[in-house]
Amino acid sequence: MAAATLLQPDLNFKQRILSLGGADLTACYQCGTCSVVCPISTADNPFPRKEMVWVQWGLKDLALSNPSIWLCHRCGTCSAYCPRDARPSEVMAALREYSIGHYASPTFMGRALSEPKYLPLLFAIPIIILLIALGLLGRLAALPEGQVVFSKFMSTTALEVIFIVATALALVGAALGGARYWKAMSRLDFGFWILDFGLRTGRPQSKIQNPKSKIQLIPTLLDILQHRKFRQCQAEPVGTRRTHQEHLFGAHLAIFYGFLGLTLTTASVMIGLYVFGYFTPWPLWHPVKILGNVSGAAVAIALVVFALRRNPDQARPGKNTYSDWLFLWILFLTVGTGFLSQGLRMLEMAVLAYPTYFMHLVFVFFLLAYIPYTKFAHLVYRTVALLYAAPSGVAERSRPQALAGASAPPSEGLAP
């Protein structure tokens, strides 16, 4: 057996997780009920039970350097069954939130997005950039005359420069964060952490294959597109309280494809503009326009569902953290100001339409540029975790008989 690790608890980390909505963590007495009911837990990887003790003991490296916390889709079954109301699903959510800040590159951005005092600064950046652009375009003195056309207000080129740069920076940040996470996982060799509960002894049964040699990109992407993990979350009836599983799959699917649609819309507009010289605004009946509006509506509806489902939960202390709400509001305001500017444009209310459009751009900037640091970063980390775990089979699970109801989805493995 390898030399045992010297444990060096980081109590500040523990305190931070407690304050990020994991306050009930202390009640955990490691019975393991959560791991029995969790759809992604395996015999070798008793998630989230082991994460609970790692946080209790302030073992930051262990808690943050494993794929499981991002394989979890927060169905809440563990919290529903927990006999001591320790709410493991909230602790896992807090861990994810913490890890976004932890792996953020540059590090400052992680802090900026997690503390309210930096919010004005975060808004000031796009406002100043956009104002400078407007100043350079000479639009600060007066609004454009005549029919409301947003490209008369903010030139397409300027938007392209600003947003391409912002997106590029975001991509770099995301790539760095993802890489740091991957590296941390490889270092602790987590794919096959077989725990010694005193029930068995000896080395883990098998060593992970070098994950890099077997990255399963296509299956993982298919997994994400199908929301396969989300679907696993809805299998069994719950214990003593409600879970999130009833709404998560549908709402997230809507928001996911809504964003995909919006991205396609943007791409189509670019292609239309540059390849075919087809200037905006396009009429409402145009298929691309329809795609954009339907996608926007899907996002908006999903957001409402998420927000409504969050509200009854507010009775639970410490559950909804700042970054949770920030993310929801930014999404909501982005979509909201988008629709509003479109409506105001069609109503020819120039005085309102242009400032609304400006605000819309600010929110879009916020959303795009800060992707790796907001809750949006789950896109990055969850994908990394899925990619990392896919070859090891950790993401797969043969469900315990007791819970595998007739309606349980077959767990056909994508990995050969």
Partner: protein, 714 residues
């Protein structure tokens, strides 16, 4: 005999539909020649009056009621001064056997014969009474002892408290804090020692001897004569009953040597930590530095069981308490608590949660496998089996080892605590783990010496709150003992039994076996080495009667002559009838109720079985078994309790002694050229009634295999 027997055959509860009760009446009248015989279906209702009239007007002095089990309607069928014998033809016959079958009828008739014989041979017991002392002696002035004194004094009894040390309070007085005793069970408390001492001192009738020890105790419940050794010389006093509350002692230090105790200065026991905390700040013993990390380990892993085979909640709660005050003293310190089992029973769950809420207390299951010291005096631990993931290492400034609790009676002063002047020795016999106890589930507080009750941590590991409750409860048992002894009645488990064994000493061979086998040390020897009974120590089990090789021991209502007569009363069909007969001698405490339960559930078992209740299998003299076999019984079932460390016997050693006597029985059977497997010992617990048909069927099979008893007809 000069006894007037009245026989009352009940026809209710389905008895009349199953049996020919007229034949039973006829049998009582003609064969047994009972002067009064009646039959009714309502003896337990309005016709109880008929029996009462017979007792009062016809001078019937022995009432035989053939009907339901003696476990029901005891208060209805109580006709003082007559002796009442209940013949159970309801649960044992009617409810378990086919109706109107000749074997069923024969079974009922045999039971009636046996009952009438018993009634003829038994006399109502006459209590043995002597003046008794109504003072309670309490040994040990800790929490349990003080609670015992308070409870007894409040009940109006005089109490004498003997405490070895110069002041009261026991271990509680040495504690820094105790874990919560009051809602919301989240905060540590100061031990309530001073208040308890004040309360005790204000009560009337309480005498406290501190710096005193028991020099010797003689006598029996109600008449203990006690010599107390004091600095000012000995004091003599008399007591009716004794509460032993001598407390506990920590396990020997060498038991914990594997954890570095004694080798590394910064490894201490939980007792040492408590004393350090009581005196002031907790520091590292090696250099007096403040502690920044502390390891508390419960030492309750599988390997620790070799040193102390039992655990308890106390060490868990002590560790939680110490974690809490360590953190209060040093809010930046980290406290690790490793355990194999965390036990916080009852309301202490709130306390456990409270400690869990402290982010600086890190709790985990785990067993310490190895340890060492680093260059600056810190302790390095390696623990296995943690949920954290395999083996882990920890570095702490101070390591605290949970101290196991052992009864003070096992300590260096243990043997001298009571100094009993009993033939069987000066100490209290112990249970499996060395505690002076008789049966911790069925008979808490009762030791194996009648009239001496143990309470507090000398009885089992427990905390202060439990000790206080324990002391009060044991005091009430002591009072019960005084009251029963003064009435000449048994205290327990045969509460209120007025019978006691008498010895026909002219025939005594002075073998001394009865004095050795008595589980309660009730018998002493006189100058001719003959037994002398201390009646109030006796629990009336009859084990002495089973032991006596010359059968000179008997009770008024329970004797070898009586049992033998009952055996002989059974009609044995001759061998050509192919109707085997099996005698079952069944323990009254467990086997008999189990047989009744089987009847209640209408379970049918072998109709060849004739059951005779016995007080304890230990009271079965081997001559009875030989009697039964020579009488023609084809098999004998000895139905009783489980022996061993987790014995079930109410009299501790009865079933064990019977097994020893079985060797003699087998020898006797061999001499008679009879198969010794005809005699089978069966373990029956009250809850295993459903197994009774199966167990008896096995004996049936043996009898079928070895064939009928060749002694039939002799």
């Amino acid at each position: 005999m000069g006894k007037k027997v009245g026989v009352y055959v009940c026809t209710g509860c389905g008895i009349g539909d199953c049996l020919d009760t007229r034949k039973l009446v006829e049998l009582a009248e003609t064969e047994c020649r009972a002067p009064v015989v009646r039959s009714s279906s309502a003896f337990c209702l309005e016709d109880a009056r008929l029996i009462r009239d017979d007792v009062e007007q016809q001078r019937v002095d022995s009432v035989v009621i053939a009907g339901c089990s003696s476990r029901v309607n005891a208060e209805v069928f109580f006709f003082k001064p007559a002796f009442v014998e209940r013949v159970n033809i309801r649960e044992r016959v009617t409810w378990g056997q086919p109706a109107n079958d000749p074997e069923t009828q024969s079974l009922a008739e045999d039971y009636l014969r046996m009952g009438i014989v018993r009634a003829q041979k038994a006399a109502p017991p006459v209590p043995y009474q002597e003046a008794t002392e109504r003072r309670v002696l309490v040994v040990g002035g800790g929490m349990a002892g003080m609670a015992a004194v308070i409870a007894a004094a409040k009940a109006g009894f005089e109490v004498v408290l003997v405490e070895r040390s110069p002041r009261l309070g026991g271990f509680a007085a040495r504690l820094h804090r105790q874990f919560p005793k009051h809602p919301p069970y989240r905060d540590l408390e100061a031990p309530a020692v001073a208040a308890t001492i004040r309360e005790l001192e204000q009560l009337p009738g309480v005498t406290v001897f501190t710096s005193s020890e028991i020099e010797q105790i003689e006598g029996q419940p109600g008449r203990f004569s006690v010599l107390v050794r004091r600095e000012e010389g000995s004091a003599e006093l008399r007591a009716g009953a004794i509460v032993l509350a001598a407390g506990w002692m920590p396990v020997e230090a060498d038991v914990l040597a594997g954890y570095g105790l004694g080798r590394y200065p910064n490894v201490v026991t939980s007792v040492a930590l408590e004393e350090m905390a009581a005196q002031g700040r907790i520091v590292r013993p090696s250099d007096g530095r403040e502690v920044q990390s502390v390891g508390l380990i419960l030492c309750d892993g599988p390997e620790d069981a070799a040193h102390l085979p039992y655990g308890g909640s106390v060490s868990s709660l002590v560790a939680l308490k110490q974690a809490m005050y360590l953190r209060e003293q040093a809010p930046s310190a980290t406290v690790y608590l490793l355990y194999e089992d965390m036990q916080a029973p009852g309301l202490y769950e709130y306390f456990y949660r409270r400690v869990q809420e402290d982010p600086g207390v890190l709790l985990s299951r785990g067993v310490v496998r190895s340890m060492g010291e680093d260059s600056d005096g810190g302790i390095l631990l390696e623990a296995e089996g943690t949920p954290i993931g395999g083996a882990v290492r920890l570095k702490v400034d101070l390591l605290v080892l949970s101290t196991g609790m052992r009864p003070a009676t096992l300590g260096p002063n243990g043997p001298g605590i009571l100094n009993l002047r009993y033939l069987q020795g000066g100490e209290l016999p112990t249970s499996a783990f060395g505690y002076p106890d008789s049966h911790y589930i069925c008979f808490p507080y009762e030791t194996q010496r009648t009239g001496i009750y143990s309470a507090g941590a000398v009885r089992k590991p427990m905390d202060l709150a439990a000790s206080a409750q324990d002391g009060a409860a044991a005091a009430l048992k002591a009072i019960q003992c005084i009251e029963k002894s003064s009435a000449g009645a048994a205290v327990h488990p045969r509460v209120g039994d007025l019978s006691y064994p008498t010895f026909f000493l002219q025939k005594c061979t002075s073998c001394g076996r009865c004095t050795q086998e008595c589980p309660f040390g009730a018998l002493e020897l006189d100058e001719k080495k003959r037994p002398v009974l201390n009646t109030n120590r006796c629990r009336r089990c009859g084990i002495c009667m089973g032991a006596c090789p010359v059968q000179i021991i008997s009770f008024n209502d329970y004797s070898i002559d009586m049992l033998s007569g009952m055996i002989k009363a059974v009609g044995i069909p001759d061998e050509f009838e192919e109707k085997p007969r099996i005698l079952a001698l069944a323990c009254e405490n467990d086997a008999c109720p189990a047989l009744d339960m089987a009847g209640l559930r209408r379970l049918q078992y072998s109709a060849a079985v004739r059951v005779i209740p016995v007080r304890c299998l230990g009271s079965v003299n081997s001559i009875l078994i030989a009697d039964a076999v020579s009488r023609g019984f084809d098999g004998v079932a000895l139905m009783g309790c489980r022996p061993g460390d987790d014995y079930q016997c109410h009299f501790i050693r009865g079933s064990e002694l019977l097994r020893r006597r079985m060797d003699n029985v087998r020898e006797t059977l061999d001499q008679l050229a009879l198969e010794s497997e005809r005699v089978q010992v069966m373990e029956v617990t009250i809850s295993e009634w459903e197994q009774i048909p199966q167990k008896l069927a096995e004996l049936d099979e043996i009898v079928a295999r070895v064939g009928p008893n060749p002694m039939k007809g002799f």
